[in-house]
């Protein structure tokens, strides 16, 4: 039986080297090392896209192992979805990563802001909906009931029509 959930982990070590080149210009270089814990495979890189490739290849292996007993078509579908996710990561992540290295605090703040903005939008829209009915009078509620009854009547008419069409087809 194949597992639905699998966990895999990577440890990445970044070593920053700052130096002045032959022209006296300040340079920064990242020498890095990535290790896939569960297989022990490792790779060194100075270009972050190599790390992405490495992660992707290890995860693809994991995906293949997890679905080896599934039909070929299903395997193709899952792999395609997995590659789509990775295409996005490969395009966006190096940039994000470098931004994080440059200014980790700003990145964390940005993520926190995004999370709280989404939270605010949800809570504001819920609040608006709830507030509309918080101060509802008996007349408002009666109006709401009338509207619900009218929708229910329309639904019944619609259902009758659908039944009639289905009957004609058969």
């Amino acid at each position: 039986m194949s597992k639905i959930e699998e966990t895999t982990s990577f440890v990445i070590r970044f070593t920053q080297k700052m130096f002045n080149d032959e022209n006296g210009e300040a340079q920064v270089q990242w020498r890095s090392h990535i290790r896939h814990i569960q297989s022990g495979k490792e790779q060194r890189f100075s270009d972050f896209s190599k790390a992405i490739e490495f992660i992707q290849s290890q995860l693809a292996e994991l995906t293949l192992q997890a679905m080896e007993d599934k039909p070929v078509e299903e395997q193709k579908g899952i792999l395609e979805k997995s590659f789509n996710i990775w295409k996005k990561v490969a395009l966006d992540y190096p940039k994000k990563m470098m931004e994080t290295i440059k200014d980790p605090k700003a990145q964390v703040e940005q993520i926190q802001n995004q999370v709280s903005q989404v939270g605010e939008v949800i809570s504001q829209s819920l609040e608006t909906e709830i507030n509309q009915w918080r101060a509802a009078s008996k007349a408002d509620i009666s109006q709401l009931l009338k509207a619900v009854n009218s929708i229910a009547a329309d639904m019944n008419v619609l259902k009758a029509k659908v039944d009639e069409i289905a009957k004609d087809k058969s």
């Binding site: 966990t7 982990s9 070590r13 080297k17 020498r31 022990g40 060194r44």
Partner: protein, 271 residues
């Protein structure tokens, strides 16, 4: 707090004073009342696994039993995980507290309801000792470099290899292993630099140890080059540079830093 001069001694003495001692660097060994606990006493690997997990999370707050089970045996059923936990804990307590009356609380593993944690005050662990030595070395580095060097030297001796080598494929041990390795690499390099004039051969030994941990650590090649020159051994200094060049090219497709190149140029120009 002891005087800085006595602080290293205080750190090291703690080992003698503690009845339960654990070595995790390069090998795993537990000593109780100065007697090594033989592997055969750990009846099953799950007991060793749980014990090593407690060591790894020793600086965290107490963990719920379910969290521990999930991290160690997340791929088995809940019932099997609970059985593992119970059997492993029973085995651990039998090994480290053989005389403890049953149902009495353990002095090493503190249980509160369904949460568990290590009583690290009652246990000597090599990684804690190493941590303390390096922290002390870092504190004293500018004020008292020779005292810092002594602390680093003890830390380097304590580092016998990677953290829990029998758990290299386990998720939960990876972070601690990496943290310790980076800490040790930094301490060994500072110490090796410090010793270049006074004891170049020791610098070379430390640089070689560093390179056995990470063959691309460029500072270690540069230290070797300088130390070999102190020893008057130019061919070996040149060789160290060539090795550095090759490995950086092979692993990163980059050249050595201008600082390393400049040192090589200086060495090449010496008659």
């Amino acid at each position: 707090m002891s005087l800085p001069e006595n602080h290293i001694e205080t750190i090291l003495k703690r080992k003698e004073e503690t009845p339960l001692k654990i070595d995790t660097l390069g090998y795993f060994q537990v000593m109780l009342q100065n007697q090594i606990i033989p592997d055969s006493q750990w009846k099953r690997d799950i007991a060793v696994q749980l014990f090593q997990f407690f060591i790894t999370i020793r600086n965290q707050r107490a963990l719920h039993k379910e969290q521990i089970i999930y991290q160690l045996w997340g791929d088995v059923s809940q019932e099997a995980g609970s059985r593992n936990f119970k059997a492993a804990l029973h085995n651990i307590l039998k090994v480290i507290e053989p005389d403890k009356p049953s149902r009495s609380p353990s002095q090493y593993i503190i249980r509160q309801g369904l949460t568990y944690r290590f009583n690290k005050e009652a246990i000597w662990i090599d990684i804690d000792c190493l941590d303390e030595l390096i922290t002390f070395g870092n504190q004293e580095l500018h004020q008292n470099p020779s005292l810092a060097a002594t602390a680093y030297q003890h830390a380097a001796e304590l580092y016998q290899g990677i953290y829990l080598p029998n758990r290299i494929y386990e998720d939960w041990a990876a972070e601690e292993r990496e943290r310790i390795q980076v800490l040790v690499l930094g301490a060994m390099m500072t110490l090796a630099k410090f010793k270049i004039k006074e004891n170049p051969m020791e610098s070379i030994r430390l640089a070689k140890r560093t390179l056995s941990i990470d063959a691309t650590w460029e500072d270690a090649y540069r230290i070797q080059m300088e130390a070999y020159m102190e020893e008057g051994n130019r061919p070996m200094a040149v060789r160290a540079y060539r090795q550095c060049q090759q490995i950086l090219q092979k692993e990163f497709e980059i050249d050595p830093l201008p600082e390393t190149k400049a040192l090589f140029k200086k060495i090449s120009e010496i008659e």
